[in-house]
Subunit: 387 residues, 4 copies
């Protein structure tokens, strides 16, 4: 019989809703060593937080994250707030002996991320675990892609081609939400979605980005203000404010393995809704993936006779595929939210076995270093910048 673990979640917007679905579901789909108890939800506005807690299934509410962190009901703190608050909450939670799941990017600066990674390493020595929520690693197709690469099915890697394309701010009248403000979000497309493809590229290849050359751009430099930057995305009259983050970030990269990388993150790719694409080319094969068709992985086996070789569409819905055995028969695909269910499943399994889950805060820090190198290169005429 599995024991329980009390979970306290800070923040309840988009990420909070997705994490809640995961915490509600994980033990019904998977055999996990600990059953999550959705104990405390934290939000600054008591009424709104209470409504969210009822809707999302949390047992109680706090308006001060410090009380959540200290609560006896809470053994695991799940941080779903904007990046400017991650470090403070995570450090306090780890210090209090609470396991921490932290949304990405790990922090808004390398310095914060480094402090968090150091604290996580120190906490791990006490059996306190931490994980950064790069949920796309838990797309079955991408977890399976990693195993194909690790098994050598691609041979020596030559190229990584990663793009994260969205279009939700193409309209210049879209308002100045917190994700467009540097002090809250740290950066724009770069940290929000670029962080995902940096992590993913390093995860899939098993190799680190060693240097980059970058350009960034803010196409629309002023946008309508919103009444409250944490509120809904409705503009308030004609007042405008400055966009202080990048709209798009492009960079070339080299991996420690010798592979070349091409990266692009943008919110201005009209018609691309959540197109996180990645293609790997190696001496023995290639892989291609697009999150807009998340149940498919395209694999070219270059060792076959050329007359019958080609990119094959693998429906990653077989019981042999990662995570899939817990769900439905072949051809019955999963959705976005499953990535979070798989994420907390892996965290709970790690807690049960007393091991450190991945990606670690150190992994999150490394991603942060890459993002930092991108910004430094972009600020220095794109000159090659070592990570």
């Amino acid at each position: 019989m599995a024991g329980q673990i009390g979970v306290g979640m800070v923040g309840y917007a988009f990420m909070g809703a997705a994490h809640s679905q995961a915490w509600r579901t994980v033990h019904h789909a998977f055999d996990v060593p600990l059953t999550p108890r959705m104990a405390v939800l934290c939000g600054r506005d008591a009424a709104a937080a209470s409504a969210a807690a009822e809707k999302l299934g949390w047992a109680s509410v706090e308006t001060d994250w410090k009380r959540l962190v200290e609560s006896d009901e809470v053994g695991l703190v799940d941080i779903c707030t904007p990046g400017d608050t991650h470090a403070e909450i995570a450090l306090a939670a780890l210090a209090a002996g609470k396991h921490v799941l932290c949304e990405k990017p790990l922090a808004n600066t390398v310095a914060e991320a480094a402090a968090m990674a150091a604290a996580a390493e120190e906490a791990a020595a006490r059996g306190v675990r931490s994980m950064v929520a790069f949920n796309y690693r838990r797309v079955p197709a991408l977890a399976f892609a990693r195993s194909l690469v690790a098994d050598g099915r691609l041979g020596e890697l030559r190229h990584v081609r990663a793009q994260y394309l969205q279009d939700w701010i193409v309209d210049p009248e879209f308002p100045l939400v917190w994700r467009l403000q540097k002090e809250r979000a740290g950066s724009g497309a770069l940290g929000d979605i670029g962080a995902h493809i940096v992590d993913l590229a390093q995860f899939l290849t098993g190799s680190r980005i060693s240097g980059v050359s970058a350009v960034t751009e803010t196409f629309v430099r002023e946008r309508p203000l919103v009444a409250s930057s944490s509120g809904p995305a409705a503009s308030s009259g004609s007042a405008r404010g400055e966009v202080t983050v990048d709209d798009a970030a492009l960079f070339t990269a080299r991996f420690s393995s010798g592979a070349l990388g091409s990266f692009e993150a943008t919110r201005f790719a009209a018609g691309r809704k959540n197109s996180m694409r990645i293609e790997l080319n190696g001496s023995a094969g290639s892989l291609a993936f697009d999150f807009e068709a998340m149940n498919e992985l395209h694999f070219h086996d270059h060792t076959l006779d050329p007359s019958v070789a080609g990119f094959r569409r693998i429906l990653v819905t077989e019981p042999e595929h990662p995570y899939v055995g817990a769900w439905w028969p072949p051809g019955h695909g999963l959705g976005y939210e499953h990535t979070f269910t798989h994420e907390v499943r892996d965290f709970l399994v790690a807690l049960g076995s007393g091991t450190d889950p991945a990606p670690s805060f150190a992994d999150g820090l490394q991603v942060q270093r890459v993002l930092d190198a991108v910004e430094r290169s972009a600020a220095a005429d794109s000159v090659w910048t070592v990570v």
Copy 2:
């Protein structure tokens, strides 16, 4: 504040797991007038049912469905058993004043289905609601397709081309599970998956199939026996039994609107895992869909200038699309299980508004009549057979 309704579910295999996920989730994603309480799970084997109840989140267990139907804890009976038991359970539940959600096909014979439809109509007069679980109507892309057709975007319909292709019994050593036995399943591919495309074609077109010409085939006529026909799909030695259902069913059809239909259901399409495909061609446009890419709908607007016309891939993940507003941002797709969450959501909404949900048992009966016409045509040299 929403009231509650106690749910009792009979059966806990594949469909039971999918329905459980829906009952656990629906009120967290949608605003529903009644919150489901997962009260009773019924299975013949007490130990197995108890284990399933704990895993799936049901509060108690019964081994006799009659007690579940009579339980004061249960206001809604969810029937997830093989087709040979649907009629008896549903009739008892309706008689007991319980709302009924019944898996498809509604029954194994037209006679049973007719009795169920009559009982449902009689019950509706008493405010007792029923619904047959053609879950694919609740794929957002297909619900949206229906609205495009209803809005006249396709003009006068000419062609319906529907295929449901699977491959799980291509191997002749796959054992003789209950779905391959006529006395349990009623029919083979025809009733299991053919029923879905019949319902879907009629739903999308808003028109009924008036006649058919059919062929059916059983490619592999003997298969290894399983120890228990309701048990897992493992064969037991060399003993073999007869496959008494169709492996594949093909038929042409005419709709009352004048459109022509081509239908195919098979479990022998190697490489097609759950490829429920449908294409509609009208005088003003066309639609194409494949469940293996369930978040996409392909729409051709034939009224555009030919130079810029073509099938467009609509990612049916916008807040304007049916059901999608409850979930994630554009491009963050849904999975198979969401169809069930949407299904019970619609049932709960109908209960709240005191209206009859669709598809009704009468709709289920009509599908059954089509399946029956298919079998009669196939048995009579494919001669045209009026539904």
Copy 3:
């Protein structure tokens, strides 16, 4: 050094232009035992035929096909006229000892086709060769598909799913051209495009259709007249005439091998321009093809580990693929007209080696028998009709 052969072509519309491109090109792309000399073009209107001859590259013109057949300049007669004239011309040409390439369908009736096949067999004994122009056999992807089937890569065939979808007469104001008149065209979609998928299905499977059950329909029963039925497709005022052929034909079929077939030919599939699609499912693998992407063949190898299996997109542009070695490097695709160049190449090679090319007139007759069975079944309540 290759010798020459004089070619005489009857008809110079769409097919005539395509065949001319083939005769002009074949010896520049392939090593052929005979170089074609484009000797005589025949058309009833002398001025128009002369203009066509100059444009298309023919050395001289005749207005009476009988003189073309008898010309000493002509060793091979290429028949590109509507189906009602095929038999008379072909019989005369074979009698005159001229090799014959005849467009499809071979004739408008089984009786005519039978006479042609008999004449072709008799002529073959005299070394006079004949071929029916089912050009799609010469799409490299389909020729390669045939070799995969013949090599057993699909195992035992279960399903053939063939559709030929066009949309050029969706508009009810499209005029009554000769292809919509039974006395000229023999039938509508059935003979024009249905003939192609019948031939192709039998070619790919190496098995014959043994019986069918069919429905046909004429959606638009009257259309504007054109000034001349052989003229351009411009309507002439408000006068209308009856459409005397099918707009669409659907049928189920059985192959002598035991496979089931589903066939559909229509000119009312809005948005499908020339979508000749075919899918084969066997016990060991599947193939899928669509002419709208004619350089691709999709192959599923069902013998692979399920985790890495899936339909692979083979670009059929490798030097190992049929016909491709004569053209461009991998990835540099071919177009529609190449199918004709390949066709005449194969005819010339057969002439050089003194063998009978395929598909023979006997093959064309067999296709005609299938089309005839389709029409008889459609006229008899879709009853199963043996070919």
Copy 4:
């Protein structure tokens, strides 16, 4: 009645064969003001050149290009040799008053290209025309894409994403052909295929690349020697030589319009045969193209209601599309070679109208400047380099 123009072609390998097909075909497909007469083919090996001339349809042969340039039979010189010879031949031809079609890249250095552009400008004043053979501009889908951009259908351009991916040298045992030698080819993937996407991006956007930041790499630095560097690609024993060109080139770019660009050219993308892909994102729409499916253009109209918006697959085979009216009905696609037929058609039309065809040598020079900036940036730590 059209006059004639004598053509002299220098070189008869891959490009020579493709150009020959164009010269043989153009006047049969299009109405052109001048009919080409394939007068002289030039190759250094008399026997091989004679065999090629007979195969490809040229009337006579020269072994010295200078005699070809001076021949009274030749009014137009078509240069299909490696890049190291372009300048000398083109300058001589222009001086001799012959029109010049020159393969890309225009030259191996900016200095050579500048001399050629100057000579072309001077010659144009005398009515002597010149054109650089960026044939991909003549893919109907891309010519049509240009018109959509020019018509404002994409709004303000934000992103250009261009990749040219091949895989023919993935195998390290592939020999050291001339395309891998700097003295012959000038550069590797950069000049061979990168030049195409640079030209195409500028053509489609109507905007020039103003600066770049680049990396290049040679993955396999030694390869087997071939007996003759101009011979077939067969290795000669164990001797190896140095690869002196790039295997891959990646760069970011800015356009004068303000758009950002991401470019990649490589011969190491296993499974990508000739995948020249380009995507444009603008404020009003997006376009995507891949040469491996050259008859398709994907267009997203961002001004539509989001519920029905998406990338539509336009089959660029309608009579309204550029060049297509000369060929086949809708859905009957074209192939690689047609790009050359269209190219020479446009050149002949320009000659007939006494105008300068595009792309001009000045356009070719500008591409060369971009390639040069790429090489300079790659050699200088990827620093931003103005074109």
